[in-house]
């Protein structure tokens, strides 16, 4: 059976907008009216994004693996053997290489890798200045593509003053608009 989630979501939106909305409008309940519009907006957002969920997960995990490897290399040059980071990267790489890896598996290895890098980052305030600067630079620059992707992901919620400046999700995920 094909996945009909998007059709179901569209039916929910139509029901909210065309059937429930006019009734709420007449009721004069301003909080309900405001929340109805927000529900419709959020469901529309999900409808637009559901197909890309897996691609987003894999894209982000790849970015964190790159970030982790670059940090590991900096630590290696400073003769610091960070086994926990190496293990987190390896688990993440193994999961990412499996096309059949379930969303929960990708989430688990991603959470572990992000936590390991974050732990290192928090401790850097007391670290040797050269190592600190190098690692922070990696975190800074490698985070850019992750934030670009998330800006693209949330574009339908229209948070940015210049919507034209928000990157295209398909271009980021697949290199071109589908």
């Amino acid at each position: 059976m094909g996945d009909r989630s998007i059709s179901g979501l569209k039916a929910c939106i139509a029901s909210l907008d065309k059937i429930i909305g006019p009734v709420v409008e007449k009721s004069g309940d301003t909080l309900a009216r405001e929340q109805l519009a927000l529900m419709s907006k959020y469901l529309s957002f999900l409808t637009e994004r559901l197909d890309y969920s897996r691609g987003r997960e894999r894209f982000e995990l790849h970015q964190y693996i790159v970030m982790g490897n670059e940090i590991l290399a900096i630590l290696g040059r400073a003769n610091i053997n960070h086994q926990e980071l190496a293990a987190s990267i390896e688990s993440a790489q193994t999961s990412l290489s499996k096309p059949e890896a379930a969303a929960e598996e990708l989430d688990r290895v991603g959470v572990s890798l992000r936590a390991t890098i974050s732990f290192i980052a928090r401790g850097l305030i007391q670290a040797e200045n050269k190592i600190r600067k190098e690692i922070e630079s990696v975190i800074h620059h490698r985070s850019k593509s992750i934030f670009e992707l998330r800006r693209a992901w949330f574009k339908p919620l229209a948070w940015e003053a210049d919507q034209n400046a928000v990157p295209d999700l398909e271009k980021l995920l697949y290199g071109t608009a589908r």
Binding site: E34, N79, E84, I117, R122, G123, H140
Partner: protein, 423 residues
Amino acid sequence: MVEVQSIAGKILPKPSLFYPAEIENAKHWRDAPDDQRIEKIRQAFPVEDEFDLMLTRKMKRRSLGSYQLPTLSEMSGYVRSFLNDHVKGKYSISNEAWLTGGASKLQFGFTLHWNDPGRGESSDDVVVRMEPAESLNATSRRREFQIIRAMKDVVPVPKTFWMDPEGKWFPEPAIVYGFVKGTTKPSSDQQRVSGTGTKFPPELRAILGPQFTEHLAAIHTFDWSNADLSAFNKPEVGTKDASIWQLNRARRVWEEDRSEDLPVVEYVANWLEDNMPILDHASVLHGDYRSGNFLFDEASSQITGWLDWERCYIGDRHRDLAWVTTSLFGNFAEDGKTPLVCGLVPEQQFLDDYQRISGLFIDPKRLHYFRVLNTYQLVVSCLSSTYRVVRLGKSHQDILLAIVEGAVYPNASDLLKILEEGC
């Protein structure tokens, strides 16, 4: 906890406290924190006394279950119970209704017919501003009440009536103040969520813009030394206390609420600790000074009230100035390229006018520091607190907070840009 190993005698320092985020489908300790963890986080990140109380209260009540919005009749009952103990003589109430506006607090309006000791028989449109079980910001109604009262002759604010800071009469802490007539946006505008990005036409900007600047200057030059602000810690000029409390509050919230680890947040927190400015003048700060948080009369274009003082504190004026100039709150003039702070005034004009009116110097280095701090705080609260509230169903605005997650990443991208630009 992550272990760090070393060869050749070199080790990487470990942070004294770090509780990693959990996977989405797991049981999270943050959903039901125990006293020991609450206390460890408290000790690690000292904040102002009143914020300490509010954040601790939030954590201790987190496992109490999801939030149920009171019905109108239940709310009317709380109001009557409260008024029975605060109004002398007979009174009646009418026009009870929930009000919209804001992303975090409940607002309930009614008309109070009573015998005001100062005015005699009166009818007042009144608002109860009350916490949900948990919200985007764990803030203090006592502080909000005190500062609005202190500001009554400084800028337009609601008339303060009473407060219930412990939630003795209402189900949660609340203040009772006067309803202010006005609108947050021109009737033609389709703004983004929570009043951000409001578009004001040029003729309206010409009248609102100067008021916007003048009011901020008035707040920052207000002599608070004789005001009753007992719920505020007062930082000493020549210290870093005010900034330390602010940074620690965000760090504490991140530790208490987050759903995912974000390495950038850690490195920026370290940058903020390293670059903290020394306070040169202690001002009252609004804390959320922007379009969406003032009301104006559409006919006269006069600002009728400044609202949402919950993030108010005493500290460095550059914090408010940097907040006002956050890109999330602004938009562009008709030429499509001139950025307008809060949709009202070109940035340089705003800063120049502020200096001229207030007589207070704007230090670019401090302004840069607080741009980083503010953006960091936005990322922290919009990513961590919104998630926790929505996950646990803790507020009447969960759907709005779910949408607020989309505001994290423009801010996170801005954060990197601001750091690159320097001052």
